[in-house]
Each structure stands twice: as C-alpha cells, then as structure tokens.
C-alpha cells in the first residue's frame, strides 16, 4: 500500500506526464506581441526616417542661417550705404533749396526766373498761389524745415512768382525730407547707425562731387534722378539747382545739415539686431532630497536619516529671445534621481504579521517586491525595539533602502538677463513636466546592492517648479558657455507619502549653446 520513496523520484514520476491548459488570453497576448514585433521591425525605419528628416531640417536650417547671415551682411551694408547716400543727397537737395532762400535778392531773382519758366510744368502747383495754401502746406512740414518755413513765409510777401516757386520748393522739401525720413525708418539694420556715422564723412566728399557734376554735366543729372526716386519733382530740383552756383557758404551749411542729420539718426535708428534663436546641450550633476521628515516608502521611516543621491542629468534645449532681456526656452532632459533611507533592518523569511493590520511595518505598501525577494521584510530600527527581539535576532541585517528614479524632463522656462556683459547673468524661472521612465528600489547590504522591486506610488507624469540662475560666458559671437544652478521643487511626483515628504532636486547644469 505504501512504501518509502526517494522524494525526487516521487515528484518526477508524479509530474512526468503532467499537462495543463493555459487560459485563452495567453495566446491572444502572444499573437499581439508577435504582431507588434513584426510592426516594430517595419516601424523602426519609419521612426528613424521621421527623426532623420527632423534632424536634417534642423541642421539645414542652422547651416543656412549661418551661411545666409554671412552672405547678407555685405549686401545689407551696400543697401545701407545707398540709403545713406540717398538720404544725404536728399538733405543736400533740401539744403540747396534752403540755401536758395537765403541767397541774395539778385540770385533769388535768377532762381525765380528759372523757376518761373519751369513752374509752368506744374499747373496744379502754380494755381495754388495763395498764402493760405502755403501755410497749410507748411504746417505739414517737419520740424526739420522750420527755418525754411519762416523764410518761405517772408519771401511769400515779396513775390507771387516766388510764392509759386516756394510752393514748389516746400513740396519738394517736404517730399525730400519725408523721403529721407522714410529711408531712415526703412533701414532698420543694426549697422545703419554705425555705417551712417562713418559714411557721413565720405558722403560729404561724394555730395560735393555729385553737386559739381550736377553743375557741369547733364548726364549726371540722369544718375541723380535715378538715385533719388522722386521722379518729376526731383528732376525739377536738379534742374533748378543746375542754374545755381554753389557757394562756399552752401558747403558749410551742408556740413551743418549732416551734423543735424546725425543727431536725428541717433533718435530714429531702431535697436540693434541680434541672434534670436539658440540651441544648447547641457549636462550636470543633480542632487535629490526632500524637505521635512517624511518618507515616500512607509510612515515608519519618517524619522530615519535619508541621504540624497547625486546623479546625472543631460539634455538639449532650444530658446528664442523675445527681446534682448527675455528669452523663452524649452528642451528635453534625461534626469536620474535617487535617495537612500538609512537604518532599516532587512529580514529574510520573517513576516511581521503578529503586528497586525495592513499597515504592518514589515510590509511596505508602496513597494511591489520582485518574485526573487518576496520573502524579505523591512523594519525601521526605531520600530525594531518594540518587537519580539529573540525571534528574529539570528536573521537581521542592518541595511538601507535605495530608491532610484529616472525621468524624461520637458522644461519650459523664461530667462531674464540682468547683466549683459561678456559674462552674462540671468534669472531663470519656469516649470518642467516629468515623465517617469525608471523606477527601482534597491536594498544595500553586505556591500551588495540588490534590486527589490519598484515603488507603486510614483505618478507617471508629474511637474516641478524651477528657479535658478544662469551664468554665461561668450566664447565667440555664436558660441556661449553656460553654467546654471537650478532648484526644482517637485509637484505631484509621489502619492501616498507620509510625514512631510516634499521632494526637490538641484542641478548644476553645464552647457554649450549656439546662437543663430
């Protein structure tokens, strides 16, 4: 009926032909997994294609920015020079006309005679030969022309013909001064001011030459006409100028006018252009810890000493300068965090079920243990004193629990510059979204770190409020070295914590950024 049997043989014989039917869900899961593997094989190139195209576009964009910037600079300078010349020319014209007003009576008569013959080309203008219309038009003149206006009004009383001329002239002055203003405002390039200052000296010479040629040849009249885009009106100016001899006085007042223009330019020229976009890579140590005496693992560890881990964070970011002071930036970082809860007794095969309740200190509700260590239990040294010491004396090991977390961090931050020297200082504020990627709990004892399992109370998505300082050092116009100590206060990372567990981390990020 019964006989003693080797236990190995007993099991082997009994279980030899043992078979069992798994549930249907197993095959369903297998086929889903096989399909996703197949898709994955096909899917990988697609993913790489998209990523590759994005990377290529970014690279192309960056390169094109650099190349175009280099190429367009000389072009812009040329345009600016033309603008400046034109502008100076206009001023000259204006001045030439101004000058005419201050010329001696005899000269003025000459001028008006000349103009008389020409004013017939402008029936509309000559018909408005009354002081009212003159003053109305004069009111439209810029402050630039105030002197002229006075002269004009006084001249106005003298001679109707001259009035006609002055209407003409005022309009010319108006159009030319407006044009010069337009030119100024149109050229918003940062180089304008500098170029202008430099060019004004050259301009004087150019203008002198131009005016000489105006006197001498009718060919230059044509070029002049093209240079200044005022068509008929300008032509008339040049024609009228042709008939005038330019005195030394005139030249002197020219320089005054240029000087006046310079003053005006300082006010009118818009702010300097700068590189708005930048990309940066960063890497740095991060230190994780928490405020207060809490624990994310179990209330019994609230008062245990905790040691923050120093880990690494690295990533890339892009930023856009809203203005010279304020930048908005976003990026993607990989960040690893960890901390150690000390003074814990780890036991094997002992369950503190005698303590009772689901909150028994031996079982950690916030940790899902791996199969390999399912029989391990934990207790804080403080709690240990109250337990049945003799029962577990043989089996305890003082240890610690090491919680390691990994996140993908998407920061969105504002950077406000408070110093803009070669060594810049900024204040940084913003927030990050944190996506959980790694979640492991280790226990450290006998010098060996062993994976216990994972925490169950960490949210897959959480946030942090960020505040820090940024120091940057300009290596060149394009490349900048950064050092950014940033404090990040974590929000909604852990559920079900005990005590005052307020986690934060501090990162000292080193980076290199490229402006374009």
């Amino acid at each position: 009926m019964s006989d003693k049997k080797n236990i190995d043989r007993l099991f082997k014989e009994k279980l030899k032909d043992f078979e069992a039917t798994p549930s249907n869900s197993v095959w369903e899961n297998i086929s889903i997994q096989l399909q996703s593997i197949e898709k994955g094989k096909k899917g990988i190139p697609m993913w790489w294609l998209v990523a590759g195209v994005a990377a290529a576009l970014l690279l192309l964009f960056t390169i094109s920015q650099v190349v175009l910037n280099n190429n367009t600079n000389p072009l812009q300078e040329i345009i600016v020079d033309e603008g400046t010349i034109k502008n100076s020319e206009n001023t000259d014209l204006q001045d030439a006309i101004n000058k005419k007003n201050t010329l001696s009576d005899s000269e003025q008569k000459n001028v008006s005679e000349n103009l008389k013959s020409e004013s017939s080309n402008f029936p509309s203008i000559s018909s408005t030969t009354n002081t009212g219309s003159i003053s109305a038009q004069n009111d439209n003149l810029t402050k630039h022309d105030n002197e002229n206006r006075n002269v004009t009004v006084s001249n106005n009383t003298q001679n109707v013909n001259r009035n006609t001329y002055k209407i003409n002239k005022n309009e010319l002055v108006k159009s030319s001064s407006e044009k010069s203003k337009n030119d100024l405002t149109d050229n918003t390039n940062s180089n304008l001011y500098k170029d202008k200052v430099e060019n004004n000296n050259i301009d004087k010479a150019i203008i002198d030459e131009l005016l000489k040629t105006v006197n001498n040849t009718s060919e230059t009249k044509e070029t002049y006409k093209i240079a200044s885009t005022n068509t008929n009106v300008d032509e008339n100016i040049t024609e009228s100028e042709e008939s005038n001899t330019i005195t030394e006085n005139y030249k002197l007042s020219l320089t005054e006018e240029i000087a006046a223009n310079e003053d005006e330019n300082i006010e009118d020229i818009p702010k300097e252009e700068f590189d708005r976009w930048s990309i940066a890579s960063n890497i740095g140590p991060v230190y994780f810890n928490s405020f207060g005496n809490g624990s994310s693992i179990h209330p019994q560890f609230n008062n245990n000493s905790k040691t923050g881990d120093i880990n690494m964070s690295y990533g890339i970011s892009g930023s856009y300068a809203i203005n010279k002071k304020l930048r908005v930036r976003a990026g993607i970082n990989k960040v690893n965090l960890g901390y150690i809860t000390n003074n814990i007794i780890v036991n094997n095969n002992i369950v503190y079920d005698n303590i009772g309740g689901s909150d028994s200190p031996g079982l950690l509700g916030n940790i899902k243990l791996n199969e390999a260590v399912e029989n391990i239990s934990f207790i804080s040294i403080d709690e240990f004193n109250f337990l049945h010491v003799p029962r577990i004396l043989n089996n305890f090991i003082e240890s610690s629990i090491d919680q390691k977390l990994g996140f993908i961090e998407i920061p969105l931050e504002l950077e406000y510059r408070i110093s803009n020297k070669k060594m810049g200082i900024s204040v940084i504020g913003g927030f990050s979204a944190l996506f959980l990627t790694d979640n492991e709990i280790y226990s450290f004892f006998n010098g060996v770190s062993t994976l216990l399992g994972e925490a169950t109370n960490i949210n897959n998505t959480s946030f942090s409020a960020n505040f820090g300082l940024g120091f940057d050092f300009k290596m060149s116009d394009k490349f900048i070295l950064n050092l950014e100590p940033i404090f990040k206060y974590q929000i909604n990372t852990f559920n079900n914590t005990s005590g005052n567990f307020n986690p934060y981390f501090i990162g000292i990020y080193f980076g290199l950024s490229f402006k374009f």
Partner: protein, 180 residues
C-alpha cells in the same frame, strides 16, 4: 500537417502555423512553467514570454534533437533569464549541507498538491529542485546556470527536499486526521 512543415512555416512567420504549434505544445510547456514559477499567473506570464522567444528564434532551430526538448529548454531559460535579470537576494545562513537522501511515503498523493508545494518553495530552491530532480541537470550545470557554486546548489537542493518532506508529512497528517 506534419510537424516539420509546421516548423518550416513558422520560420516564415506564418501566423496559422504559429497558432498550430501553440496548440500542440502549450499544455506541455505550461506544465514546465507551472513547476518553475511561484503561481499560476506568473506561469502564464512565463509561458507567454517563452512562446514569443520561441517564435522569434524559430529560424535558429536546426532540427537537432527533439523539437519538444528545444521548446522546453527555451521555457526553462525564459524563467532563468528573469531570475538572472532580477538578481537574487542573498539568502542568509547558507551553510553547506550534505547531500541528503530524503524519503517519503507514497500514498495516492494529489498532483496539484505536489505542484503547489514546489511553487511555494523559495525562488532559488524551486529552480534548483526543478532542474536537478525533475529535469536531471547536474549540480555543475545548475551552478553555471544560476551563477552560484555547486556547494550552494547542493545546499539549496537539500533544503528544498526538507521543506517538501515537511509539507508532504503535514499533508498526510491532515489526511489521517480527516479520515479518523
């Protein structure tokens, strides 16, 4: 359809052939997984992973040795890989114990009870007992597979036997008290 043809089709990722292979061998492999895992749920997880590996590596099957043996080895390896990946907590008080012979009475004992007894063994004891007693691996092979010494495998085996013996004796005692 012959097994060879099924295997050939499986190598070409034919879904129907994969399904057929699963139907033919799932209950045998599930038995292996049940013996090597701590419970039914884990066993199903392991079976699932084993079959995914099997179909992924089907092209590597070279028709040497039995196909069923190859499948079983993959199933066992799947369990062992998880064991290696997780790392195992050092079990304290692991003094070497002599390789002892444990004998028990053989009544008409319930297979499910035997299975449950194995599943309830601590993780590594379960692996060692399965590998040595049921699948006839040597201590040397097991030591290599689990990355431990043969002293440890022998000690683990002896402890596993002792635990199982206790369980069986308790089982009989319970049976007797019920029948009395």
């Amino acid at each position: 359809m012959s097994l060879d043809l099924l295997i050939r089709k499986c190598k070409k990722n034919d879904t129907n052939a994969q399904s057929e292979i699963y139907k033919l061998f799932s209950s045998k492999l599930f038995a292996v997984c049940l013996k090597y895992s701590r419970n039914h749920v884990d066993a199903e997880d392991n079976l699932q992973d084993a079959f995914v590996t099997i179909f992924e590596k089907m092209s590597q099957y070279g028709y040497k040795g039995s196909f069923e043996g190859w499948l079983k080895r993959i199933a066992v390896n799947t369990v062992l890989q998880k064991y290696r990946r997780k790392g195992v907590f050092n079990i304290v008080n692991e003094d070497d114990i002599e390789d002892i012979v444990v004998e028990v009475e053989d009544y008409d004992i319930d297979i499910n009870f035997l299975l449950q007894s194995i599943q309830e063994l601590p993780y590594r004891y379960r692996l060692v007992f399965n590998l040595y007693a049921l699948d006839e691996y040597s201590h040397k092979e097991i030591a290599k597979m689990l990355d431990i010494t043969t002293g440890t495998t022998k000690s683990n085996l002896a402890r596993a036997r002792m635990i199982l013996k206790d369980k069986i004796e308790n089982y009989y005692a319970k049976l007797n008290s019920q029948s009395l």
